[in-house]
C-alpha cells in the first residue's frame, strides 16, 4: 500500500502503532499523516489517555472485610507455620 493514509485507515492502525508492530514503511506513513492532521493527533492522544485511565482501575479500594478476612487467614497460616516447624 502506498500513497497517503486517510484518517479512516489511521484509526485502525493505532494499536499496531502503539505496540510497535507496524513495519517501518507503514510507521513512516502513519507519522507523516499525524504531523499534518490535528484530528488524528488528537485521536491518538485520546487513545494514550484512555490507556492511562484504564490503568487507574488498579487503584480501587478493597473492601475492608476482604482485607480483614485475608489478615485472619494470614494469622492462621503464621501460627500453623510456626507449629509446623
Amino acid at each position: 500500500m502506498s500513497g497517503e493514509l486517510t484518517c479512516k485507515e489511521l484509526v485502525e492502525l493505532v494499536t499496531a502503532y502503539l505496540e510497535g508492530a507496524l513495519p517501518a514503511h507503514d510507521r513512516k506513513r502513519f507519522e507523516e499523516h499525524l504531523v499534518v492532521c490535528a484530528g488524528c493527533a488528537s485521536y491518538l492522544d485520546g487513545m494514550r489517555r484512555t490507556i492511562e485511565v484504564t490503568g487507574r482501575l488498579t487503584e480501587e479500594d478493597l473492601l475492608p472485610e476482604t482485607v480483614r478476612e485475608l489478615l485472619i487467614a494470614f494469622r492462621g497460616w503464621k501460627s500453623a507455620d510456626v507449629a509446623g516447624r
Binding site: T15, M47, T54, L57, A73, R75
Partner: protein, 291 residues
C-alpha cells in the same frame, strides 16, 4: 531497544527538545513510552516547522523516562531486591508487609479472577484461595520471575481450576474466533467524510481533545467509572485482553501465553477493546460539555 535521545534521558516534567531529536523520538519507539508527549504549543509549532529549523526547540512533557540499557538492568535488580525484601517479611510473618501486598494487587486480582469465573463473589473466593496458596508456597519463591508474575500465575491457575469445577471450560482462544470474525467498523462511519468528497475518509469534525479537559477531569473517579463500565460491557475475550494488558499491566507476551492467543489476534482484540473504551470516554466528555 532504547529510544530516548540524551535530551530527555533521566529527565521529568517539561523539557525542551531540539527538533532533530524530536524527529528521532517520534520515529522511534515513542508508542511504548506514552509518558512522553509534546505539549500542545510544542506540537503546533512542530507541525508547522520547516526542515531548516534544526536548532529550534519544542516543549515536551515527560512523565517517566526509561533509562539506558545498563540502568534498566539496574532497575531490574532493584525490583528483584524489593521482591526479596517483601518475601522475607512474609516468611517472617510481617502483617504489615502482607496487608501492603494485598492492597497493592488485591483489586486487580479480583478483576482478573472475574474474567474466569461466574461472578464477583466467586472471584473473591478465588483471590482468597490464591493468597493461601501464595503463603503456603512462599518458601518456594526463588525470584526467577517477579513476585507479581508469580502471584498472578497462582491466581490464574486457581481461577481456571475453579472455572472447570463450575463447568466453564471453554478456553479464551476458542471464544476469540467469534470476536475476531466480527468486522463491524469500530469508529462510526459518519465520523468520516463520505466518498466523493474532496477529503473523503478524513474526519468530519476533529475528535475531542482529551488533554483540553479541565484539570483533574481526565483521571477523576467519575471518568475511571466510565472506563470500568465500558470494559464490563466488552465481549469476553476483549475484556480479558484489555484487563490483563492495561489494568494488570502484563506484557503482550504474557497475555498471549495466558490466554493462548497469537500475537496478532491479541493485538486485534486489544485494539477493539481500547477503541470502544476510548469512544465511551469521548461520549462521556461530550455529554458533560453539552450539559
Amino acid at each position: 531497544m532504547l529510544l530516548e535521545p540524551d535530551a530527555i534521558r533521566g529527565r521529568k516534567g517539561v523539557v525542551e527538545v531540539l527538533g532533530d531529536e524530536l524527529d528521532e523520538l517520534l520515529a522511534g519507539e515513542v508508542g511504548r513510552v506514552h509518558a512522553f508527549m509534546l505539549t500542545r504549543e510544542g506540537r503546533n509549532r512542530y507541525k508547522k516547522r520547516n526542515a531548516g529549523a534544526r536548532t529550534e526547540t519544542y516543549r515536551c512533557n515527560v512523565t517517566s523516562v526509561p533509562t539506558r540499557g545498563s540502568e534498566l538492568g539496574l532497575e531490574r535488580d532493584v525490583a528483584a531486591a524489593e521482591d526479596a525484601r517483601i518475601v522475607d517479611a512474609l516468611r517472617a510473618g510481617d502483617e504489615r508487609a502482607f496487608v501492603m501486598l494485598v492492597q497493592e494487587h488485591g483489586a486487580t486480582m479480583i478483576r482478573v479472577a472475574s474474567l474466569y469465573v461466574r461472578n464477583r463473589a466467586v472471584a473473591e473466593e478465588v483471590v482468597q484461595e490464591t493468597w493461601l496458596g501464595v503463603l503456603k508456597g512462599i518458601d518456594r519463591f526463588e525470584g526467577r520471575s517477579t513476585l507479581k508474575t508469580w502471584l498472578f500465575r497462582i491466581l490464574t491457575n486457581t481461577a481456571t481450576t475453579r472455572a472447570v469445577r463450575e463447568g466453564r471450560t471453554i478456553p479464551f482462544s476458542a471464544l476469540a474466533g467469534a470476536e475476531l470474525g466480527d468486522d463491524e467498523p469500530l469508529v462510526d462511519a459518519d465520523r468520516f467524510l463520505p466518498a466523493g468528497d474532496r477529503w473523503a475518509n478524513h474526519w468530519t469534525s476533529s475528535p475531542l481533545r482529551f488533554d483540553d479537559l479541565p484539570d483533574g477531569r481526565l483521571l477523576s473517579s467519575e471518568t475511571v467509572a466510565v472506563a470500568r463500565t465500558a470494559i464490563e460491557e466488552l465481549p469476553e475475550v476483549q475484556r480479558a485482553v484489555i484487563t490483563m494488558r492495561d489494568v494488570a499491566g502484563f506484557s503482550s507476551e504474557e497475555v498471549c501465553g495466558e490466554l493462548d492467543l497469537s500475537e496478532g489476534n491479541q493485538r486485534v482484540l486489544l485494539h477493539r477493546a481500547r477503541t470502544k473504551v476510548r469512544a465511551a470516554l469521548e461520549r462521556h466528555f461530550e455529554a458533560a460539555e453539552e450539559a
